[in-house]
Amino acid sequence: MANLKEVRIRIASVNSTQQITKAMKMVSAAKLKRATDAIVQMRPYANKLKDILANLTASLEGNESPYTQQREIKNVLLVVVTSNRGLAGAFNANVIKAANLLVADKYDAQKRDGNLQIIAIGKKAQDYFTRNKFNVIGNNNEVFNHLNFDEANKIAEEVMSGFVAGKWDKVEVVYNQFKNAGMQILTTEQLLPVVPSVNQSANQNNADYLLEPSQEEIVLGLIPSSVKIQLYKALLDSHASEHGARMTAMDKATENAGDLLKALRLSYNQARQASITNEILEIVSGANALAAQ
C-alpha cells in the first residue's frame, strides 16, 4: 500500500498539471477563434484573385512569366511550416516527417549534392533541420508573433526573387491545412514554378472586359500576387491548425489527468482507511492487554 504522504504529493502535482493543461486549452481555443477569423477574412480576396486569374489565363496561351518557367530541377527549396511552440500533439512531428519523406522520395539526389535548401517557418522546423545539418536559410521564427500579409510577403519576395535568379528551380511548401479544430490535413504544395490554374467555374468570360493595360500584362502582374497569397494561406492555415491541434491535445491531457486523479484519490482513501483500521486495532489490542493484567 502506497505511503499516504507520497500519494498526497502526487495528487497535488497532477492537480496543478491539470490546471495548466486546462488553461492552455482555453488559451488555444481563443487563439483558434482569431486564427480562423483571419482565414475567413483572407478568403474573399484569394477567391476573387483566383477567379480573375483563371478567367484571363483560360483564353491566353503561351504566356511566359518568369514565375511559370519549367526548368530542369537542380536546386530545390522546401518551405516547411511548423509552430514555434510544442505541446500540440503530433502537429510538428507530422510536418517534419512529411518533409523528410518528400526529400527521400523526390529530392534524394539534390540532397546528396547539397542542392536542397530549406526555409523553416517556426522554431520547431528551424531547430530540427539545423540539428540534422540541412541547408537552412534565414530565420523566420518571428513570423507567427504577428502573422499578417506583410510578414508573409517578405518571405514570399525572398522565395520568388531566388527563383527568378535561378537559385532554385522548384519550390515546395509543406504545411498543415486547416480543416476544423480537430483535424489537420498534411499538405505538400508546389509554390514555384506556378501551376496554371484551371478554370472550373462555368460562368467564365461572361462579359467582354476592357483590359488595361493588356491581358498579358495583367496576368503577369497577378501571378506574383497569387504566389504571395498561396504562401500566406499556408501560414494562416498552419497557424489555425496549430491551435486546433493544441486544443485537442490539451483537452485529452486534461481528461487523462482527471482519470489519474480519480485513481490516485481511490488509493489515497484506501491507504487512509487502512491506517485508521490499523490504529484502532492497536488501541483495542492494547486495551485488551491492559484489561487482562
Binding site: 483571419a38 477574412q41 483572407m42 474573399p44 480576396y45 484569394a46 476573387k48 484573385l49 480573375i52 484571363l56 499578417n148 500579409f149 506583410d150 462579359a207 467582354d208 472586359y209 476592357l210 483590359l211 488595361e212 493595360p213 500584362e217 495583367i218 502582374g221 497577378l222 500576387s225 504571395k228 497569397i229 500566406y232
Partner: protein, 79 residues
C-alpha cells in the same frame, strides 16, 4: 453601385458608392454607375470614393480592379 475594397488581411470597405477613382496602370480613372466591365491593374496611389457618408480616401500600394454589372471589386495589396 456596390464597392468592395479587399486586402488579404481584411475587408477595408464595403458599401454603396456613386463614384470611385483609382490609380490605373495607364493612368488614373473614375468608375461611375453603369461603367463597362473592366479589369485593370492598379499602381501605387489613392483610391477615392464618394459614398452616402461623403468622400473617403485609401492609399494602396498596388492591386487590381474588376468592374462588372455595377459591382466594383478592388483587390489591394496593402492599405
Amino acid at each position: 453601385m456596390q464597392l468592395d475594397i479587399l486586402t488579404p488581411d481584411k475587408k477595408v470597405f464595403s458599401g454603396e458608392v456613386s463614384a470611385v477613382s483609382v490609380p490605373g496602370a495607364k493612368g488614373s480613372f473614375e468608375v461611375l454607375n453603369n461603367h463597362a466591365p473592366i479589369i485593370s491593374t492598379l499602381e501605387k496611389g489613392m483610391v477615392k470614393l464618394t459614398g452616402k457618408d461623403g468622400k473617403m480616401e485609401f492609399e494602396i500600394t498596388g492591386g487590381v480592379i474588376e468592374v462588372l454589372n455595377n459591382k466594383v471589386i478592388v483587390l489591394a495589396e496593402s492599405i
